[in-house]
């Protein structure tokens, strides 16, 4: 860019734009922004001033600049300015280097994007240009699978009718293809360059804005004015798909594109500790002012009573009044500033840098963690924000998406029911279901999806036998859909709108019913090696109300309607003669649902010609009617979709991701409450909740699905009452104030250990069972008593809308916080964010939102921490997130290991940091009382400058980067260790106060012990020891040793590096000062350092070493004692865990038991609920002929989207594993009961979801 950035012209706000195609001069005159983008902040010239300006805008840096200015005034400067310049420059340079490298990366990516090439029409030919040279008004040619150069208005495309397909994953995260269309009038230009170059349309359209869904403009050409809509525009950031080429006119370029207009800065998140830190620093600053004020007052007195008389040896400065009191006052005021300078180390500049540095490295631990690397997709964990790590150790609420987050979002055809016969279950000779995966062998197919496994030979046999029903079943599957075929490497790949449809069509193909191609009016299939073509008469498309779709096809004169849809909708439309078969199928559906499968019913109807023609006419009328078209069309659909004959039902598996149940279970044990926010139905959500162990059968589960405000309110009240009853009944709690907000803590109940707080079973046999029956015997004992694992809450989106109102939201929150798990179903993205906000604002707890899709972005941005899963739904969530990885289960490691450690480390770091700076700085304060409050430094000024940067920084950085209480495995196996973070136990105001007091006491000892020991003593050679330089060096050396030993005591995790850094720091202190205080300096600089000879003189006296040892003992012994007594008498969870890790004995056993228990738990069904695709279908596009691909005729190379295939590969192995574990669950259950510890063991519930819903609240088994 040859513009000088700071001389940019201020632009007049645009109202609208008017451009002319192929008239570059006229367009250039308008001075619209070119297509070059620049996301970088600096260039070579502006870097220094701009970066410095940015840095000094930070309060801390500005403060140090202020200090520096003070130091430059010799009258008050108590320290050489170098003491501030050195650290300040260090800090500024470090930040500047980081900023510069970030900016270089941005420059690189900018230039990479700017130098992408695209073809434009120039004169009569196509010229390849770089993106940055594209101007508004240029006609560009886009190729298949290329990113769109800028925002362009389509002119013509390779497809019929000027259609083209785009993928908008980069823009909104949706991976499904969308259709755009050129204006009918212009699409005839096709790729005739000569015509295109003569194309001289004028386009008038709105000024650049950030609305992705709207475009308004007019195209005037050949005396016609044609309206332009969003459909006619391709946006930058999208990618051309399934379209060989497309021509378009650039309308917005570079910074004006909607993509760039939307890339607003993400909100800057700060952690809880950051906020606390800010307040603490303000407090410290206040403390500093108080200290300075004390010194000022004392100085005033001292100068007027002592200093005034001492003037014979030390006259006051000439600018000070000679009057005793006025002069003293003036002097004391100057001393105030001097003391600010020397005491400023209590708010050390290195604090911010150190914290940032530690967080950066902690983020690297996350980035580099191979255990969070998802190999199949090549997705490493990524800390996209480096400043939030410790908050990962304080999470109390997790808000999770379901699809793609808990589940894989991969659907496979799993079971089916055809005319009352169920297929998919394998039975042995005795008719029992075989579930041992070892005995199951998947059947080999010629062509199948990678995920697909089928075990049941009965279905194959039926197909081979030519069973008519089975044939109809699969024919329907191959005909009734809106899938688009694509040929790729000689194979047919399907492009479907929902994964469900893809699964069904693919399954049909696998069984030999291949959907080959479709045109506007026909569908070609290959049924059992026989090609057949059906005339496609109508597609009655899917929508969320209809929850079904139908096709009407004609073959050999027979007109048939095929329909598939949600069971409830199909059931209503069945012929009355189908009752019996429906009852049977219903049973199967229930069985499927219990297995957590998504189900659909299939039906058909034969139509006679006359009937159809009459209906078609009606439909035509409805389609052309001007008002209420949609309603009328739907009504017409209803008319024909009746008297259906049921063929059967399909069951699709929506697989849970690996390790999700275990992960959720452990997170729950870590005291984290998990709220699942999903778009699914209540039943589905409930089943998912069960299968991922979010909900268990021993939980009290309440469901809110009321549909108006009043009943929601009533329901909330009712649930609250039930909760109170339950609590009073189970626990020894009397809730007197019923109005008061419910809170487990008020009753002293630890949510993690309900069993400990339970009412003792009364031995006299009068104990009441929850259902009201008095138990007559007590032999049931503790084993038999009702299990209670807490409350669970399900709420639908509709009820949520009311519950989130101002009036009810606190009630909802109260119930929600009482629950271990909350599931919100059918929620919109906005509601997701609202729920997060509700908890965040009112609970003052740290929240984490995790999701993978564009619909999760709002909550990811809202929550304290947003986690994105790089899944199938594009990268939008990842881009908005603070942390990202490939699988939900890594969340456990992120929180329980990295988060916990980060919190522990940063807490210990801060604790220690304040301690060491108070210890260091307060010595100046004490010394003030001996030096006439003159702001004389005790230490060598050079030491003051380097103490924080060199002589105490490395060990504390090592502490903040490497320290850990227990190993990663232990952290994972002991989730309760996580709770201290939630309660801010490691760093809070109390701990801060303790460390400050510790620091102050330390400074006292470090100052006064050497003072007493040295002040009147002499060296063996007779010289006195108490000169200022020796004393200062002595205190400094003791300080370094004590402070670093204290650091060693704080450190739990000793590594070679830590040893090196710790002892190295101490050794370097001695070496450095030996050199600095030697004559070497004279040889180099031809002048002496003022402290020459001091190190030698001090270190050669026994007095010093005895004092050092004495001081260390006095300071460290109490710390030892405190640690010992705490370990002995009131060990914290962490202490226990550390001891256990050290003395493994019992722990090993417990650990093994825990692992066994984990294994048992994993032998559960890992499958989830069911639903229908939730999007509007492609029906209208297909029938209108707009979507018809030319692929069949042109026979061109097509790239299939890569992601789909890749994911298929991965999930194969996972699926196998899941399958195994599932199969084992039932067969091995008798064995399980032998294992004594059955507290965690739950019998899997085999009730249909429908039944479950009716029992509100559910009674436990």
């Amino acid at each position: 860019m040859n513009k000088i950035p700071f001389l940019k012209k201020k632009k007049v706000e645009e109202r609208s734009r008017k451009i002319k195609a192929n008239d570059s001069d006229a367009n250039a005159a308008k001075e619209y922004a070119g297509n070059e983008i620049s996301t970088s902040k600096y260039n070579l010239i502006t870097f220094l001033p701009k970066n410095l300006f940015e840095q000094f805008r930070r309060l801390a840096n500005a403060y140090f600049l202020f200090l520096l200015c003070l130091q430059l005034i010799p009258q008050i400067s108590s320290l050489a300015p170098v003491t501030t310049i050195l650290p300040l420059v260090f800090v500024l340079a470090l930040t500047a280097i980081k900023d510069a490298s970030d900016d270089i990366a941005r420059h690189r990516s900018d230039s990479q994007v700017n130098n992408r090439e695209t073809k434009t029409v120039v004169g009569n030919e196509l010229v390849t240009r770089k993106w940055k040279d594209i101007k508004v008004g240029d006609i560009v040619r886009l190729e298949n699978n290329e990113f769109v150069t800028a925002d362009i208005v389509l002119v013509s495309t390779s497809e019929l009718n000027g259609l083209c397909f785009i993928e908008t994953a980069e823009l909104d995260g949706e991976t499904n293809l969308k259709v755009r269309q050129a204006l009918e009038e212009t699409c005839d230009l096709e790729d005739h360059i000569d015509q295109l170059s003569r194309f001289d349309a004028e386009i008038e359209y709105e000024a650049p804005n950030n609305n992705l869904g709207r475009f308004e403009g007019n195209l005037s050409w050949k005396n016609k004015t044609l309206p332009l809509k969003n459909d006619n525009v391709l946006l930058r950031g999208t990618r051309l798909r399934n379209t060989q080429w497309a021509f378009g006119i650039v309308c917005y370029a570079g910074p004006d594109t909607k993509l760039m207009k939307n890339s607003g800065k993400a909100t800057f998140k700060r952690t809880k500790i950051d906020h606390l830190l800010n307040r603490i620093i303000l407090g410290i600053f206040f403390f500093l002012l108080v200290m300075c004020a004390i010194m000022t007052i004392c100085c005033g007195f001292w100068e007027s009573f002592v200093g005034y008389d001492f003037r014979i040896y030390l006259p006051w400065e000439t600018y000070i009044s000679n009057d005793q009191h006025i002069g003293a006052l003036e002097k004391s005021l100057l001393v105030f500033l001097s003391y600010i300078i020397i005491l400023n180390t209590v708010v050390p500049i290195s604090l911010y840098v150190s914290v940032e540095f530690i967080r950066l490295l902690q983020s690297k631990w996350i980035d580099w963690d191979s255990k969070m690397y998802y190999e199949p997709n090549n997705v490493p964990a990524q800390a996209r924000t480096t400043t939030l790590n410790e908050e990962l150790g304080q999470i109390e609420y997790i808000f999770s998406d379901k699809t793609g987050t808990l589940t894989q979002n991969i659907m496979t055809f799993n079971k089916c029911s055809i005319k009352g016969k169920v297929y998919g279950y394998v039975t042995d000779e005795a008719g029992n279901e075989v579930q041992d995966p070892e005995k199951l062998k998947p059947i080999q197919f010629d062509e199948k999806d990678d995920d697909f496994e089928w075990y049941d030979h009965k279905l194959i046999d039926a197909i081979k036998k030519g069973d008519k029903d089975v044939h109809t079943f699969f024919t329907l599957l191959s005909l009734c859909h809106t899938v688009m075929p694509e040929e790729k490497d000689g194979k047919i790949a399907y492009q479907a709108q929902s994964p469900d449809e893809n699964a069904l069509v693919s399954a049909a193909r696998t069984f030999g019913f291949v959907f080959v191609n479709r045109t506007q009016s026909s569908i070609s299939v290959r049924l059992q090696e026989k090609d057949a073509t059906y005339d496609l008469l109508n597609i009655l498309d899917f929508d969320n109300d209809r929850k079904r779709m139908s096709v009407i096809v004609k073959k050999d004169g027979k007109i048939i309607l095929f329909c598939k849809g949600a069971d409830s909708k199909i059931k209503e439309r069945l012929d009355s003669s189908e009752k019996d078969i429906m009852t049977e199928t219903d049973e199967h559906l229930n069985k499927f649902a219990t297995d957590g499968l998504r189900t659909l019913c299939l039906a058909y109807r034969e139509l006679n010609e006359g009937e159809y023609n009459k209906w078609a006419e009606k439909l035509n009328k409805a389609n052309t009617s001007m008002e209420k078209r949609e309603e009328k069309v739907n009504e017409t659909y209803e008319e024909i979709e009746k008297n259906l004959k049921l063929i059967g039902a399909t069951a699709i598996e929506d697989k849970l991701q690996d390790g999700v149940p275990q992960c959720i279970e452990r997170l729950a044990r870590a005291g984290i409450k998990i709220w699942v926010l999903t778009g699914d139905k209540v039943e589905t959500a409930y089943n998912i909740g069960l299968s991922c162990r979010l909900l268990t059968n021993d939980m009290e589960i309440y469901i809110i699905e009321e549909e108006n405000e009043h009943s929601v309110e009533k329901k909330l009240e009712e649930i609250r009452k039930q909760m109170i009853e339950k609590v009073e009944q189970l626990f020894d709690v009397k809730i007197e104030d019923r109005k008061k907000r419910l809170d487990w803590k008020d009753w002293g109940i630890d949510v993690m250990k309900f069993d400990q707080h339970r009412k003792a079973e009364e031995p006299n046999g009068k104990a009441q069972r929850p259902n009201g029956h008095a138990t007559t015997t007590n032999d049931s004992g503790a084993h038999d008593r009702e299990q209670f694992e807490g409350f669970g809450l399900l709420i639908t989106g509709q009820a949520l809308a009311f519950a989130l109102s101002d009036k009810l939201k606190m009630k909802l929150l109260e119930l929600g916080t009482m629950c271990k798990a909350v599931v919100c179903c059918r929620v919109t993205p906005l509601q997701k964010a609202q729920v997060v906000e509700l908890v965040m604002q009112n609970e003052k707890k740290i929240t984490l939102a995790i999701g993978d899709g564009a619909n999760d972005v709002s909550m990811i941005q809202k929550a304290h921490i947003g986690v994105g899963i790089s899944g199938q739904e594009g990268r939008q969530a990842v881009l908005a997130s603070d942390y990202s990885f490939g699988q939900f289960r890594y969340l456990e490691r992120l929180l329980l290991v990295h988060g916990r450690w980060s919190y522990l480390r940063i807490s210990k770091f801060l604790r220690y940091f304040f301690y060491k700076n108070f210890a260091f700085t307060l010595c100046h304060f004490w010394f003030g009382f001996f030096s006439g409050f003159s702001a004389q430094t005790l230490y060598d000024p050079f030491f003051v400058a380097t103490y924080n940067v060199f002589f105490s920084s490395l060990p504390v950085l090592a502490l903040g980067v490497f320290d850990q209480d227990v190993s990663a495995d232990h952290s994972m196996s002991k989730p309760p260790l996580y709770t201290p973070g939630q309660n801010n136990e490691f760093f809070n105001k109390k701990i801060f106060a303790e460390s400050v007091i510790h620091g102050i006491l330390t400074s006292c000892i470090i100052f006064f012990v050497p003072y007493l020991s040295v002040s009147n003593s002499t060296r063996p050679g007779g010289m006195t020891q108490a000169d200022l330089q020796s004393f200062g060096f002595m205190v400094a050396t003791i300080m370094i040793i004590v402070v670093n030993l204290e650091n060693a005591l704080e450190t739990w995790y000793w590594t070679g590096l830590y040893h090196f850094v710790l002892w190295g720091t101490i050794v370097v202190h001695f070496l450095f000062h030996f050199v600095l205080y030697s004559t070497i300096i004279y040889q180099i600089f031809n002048t002496n350092y003022g402290y020459v000879g001091v190190a030698q003189a001090v270190l050669s006296t026994g007095n010093f070493w005895f004092t050092l040892f004495l001081t260390c003992t006095i300071l460290l012994l109490p710390v030892f004692c405190r640690e010992f007594f705490r370990m002995r008498f009131m060990p914290t969870k962490t202490d226990r865990a550390r001891l256990n890790q050290k003395f493994r004995t019992e722990e090993k056993a417990a650990f093994v038991a825990h692992i066994q228990q984990k294994l048992r738990q994993s032998k559960r069904s890992i499958r989830s609920g069911y639903a229908f695709s939730q999007q509007q279908g492609w029906g209208p596009l297909i029938t209108s002929g707009r979507m018809q691909s030319k692929s069949a005729t042109r026979n061109r190379q097509q790239q299939q989207p890569q992601s789909q295939n890749q994911n298929n590969n991965i999930s194969k192995s996972i699926f196998l594993k899941n399958r195994k574990t599932h199969m084992m669950s039932e067969s091995s259950s008798p064995k399980n009961s032998v294992i004594p510890d059955n507290q965690q063991q739950h019998h899997h519930h085999h009730q249909s979801p429908a039944e479950l819903i009716r029992l509100t609240p559910l009674t436990s088994s």
Partner: protein
């Protein structure tokens, strides 16, 4: 070995402006213009630098103390070997042509004679390299301090070969150095040293107390540790 000290109490050698008020380069024998740090004892009225400059030098202790044994014999004292060797060898050097230099430049206002008159008998102990001066220039850390004044010359006479014999000693003070007006006090201390230096009761007592505490802690820890069941 016997050492003689003078002590000053309520004397603020550690005051910031006092500590600062010197020019180490001048004391190294460099004859450039002195640093402004020496203010207000930087230059005399006629504009030439004080030699040496600064408040520390200007306020050099100048009482002369002599000790008389049994009313007649003056105790022989050495005025060398009382400063740090590094100070004497490295930090303080006289300029070239020291005698003319010191004559041409004024001494600090409080001084009655030039630096070259500090020890006329020993040119190695004269000017900036005068050890009394060097000792004074090493500023004390506390407002109550002592500085090594003289050491006993054990070689000059039989009487003092083994130190100071028992007897009556008279201290003769030539009083030049006023301390009354700022309530200061002067002390004269006679001391011997061991391998650890002079008498230091604080360290002794502190070690006894801390040692006892450590013993108690040891016993308690030991018992607790033995009875500790994990």
């Amino acid at each position: 070995k016997v050492y003689f000290y003078y002590g000053l109490v309520n004397y603020y050698q550690n005051h910031r402006r006092y500590v600062k008020s010197r020019d180490d380069n001048q004391l190294l024998g460099k004859t450039d213009a002195v640093s402004k740090d020496c203010q207000p004892f930087q230059k005399s009225v006629n504009g030439s630098d004080y030699t040496p400059c600064g408040a520390i030098a200007n306020s050099k202790f100048n009482d002369s103390l002599t000790l008389v044994f049994n009313g007649s014999q003056t105790v022989p004292l050495l005025n060398t070997g009382i400063a740090w060797t590094t100070d004497k060898d490295v930090k303080f050097k006289n300029p070239n042509n020291a005698s003319t230099y010191f004559q041409n430049n004024p001494p600090p206002p409080n001084w009655k004679y030039t630096a070259w008159d500090l020890d006329k008998n020993n040119s190695d102990n004269n000017g900036y390299k005068n050890e009394d001066f060097i000792v004074w220039m090493r500023t004390a850390a506390m407002p109550a301090f002592r500085k090594l004044y003289r050491r006993l010359n054990t070689n000059s006479s039989q009487t003092f070969q083994g130190g100071l014999p028992q007897g009556n000693y008279t201290l003769k003070v030539q009083y030049n150095y006023p301390v009354i007006n700022f309530s200061g006090r002067k002390q004269f201390i006679i001391s011997t040293t061991s391998w650890m230096g002079g008498k230091n009761p604080f360290l002794g007592w502190a070690y006894i107390v801390v040692g006892i505490v450590c013993m108690i802690a040891f016993v308690v820890f030991f018992i607790l540790h033995k009875t500790w069941k994990l």
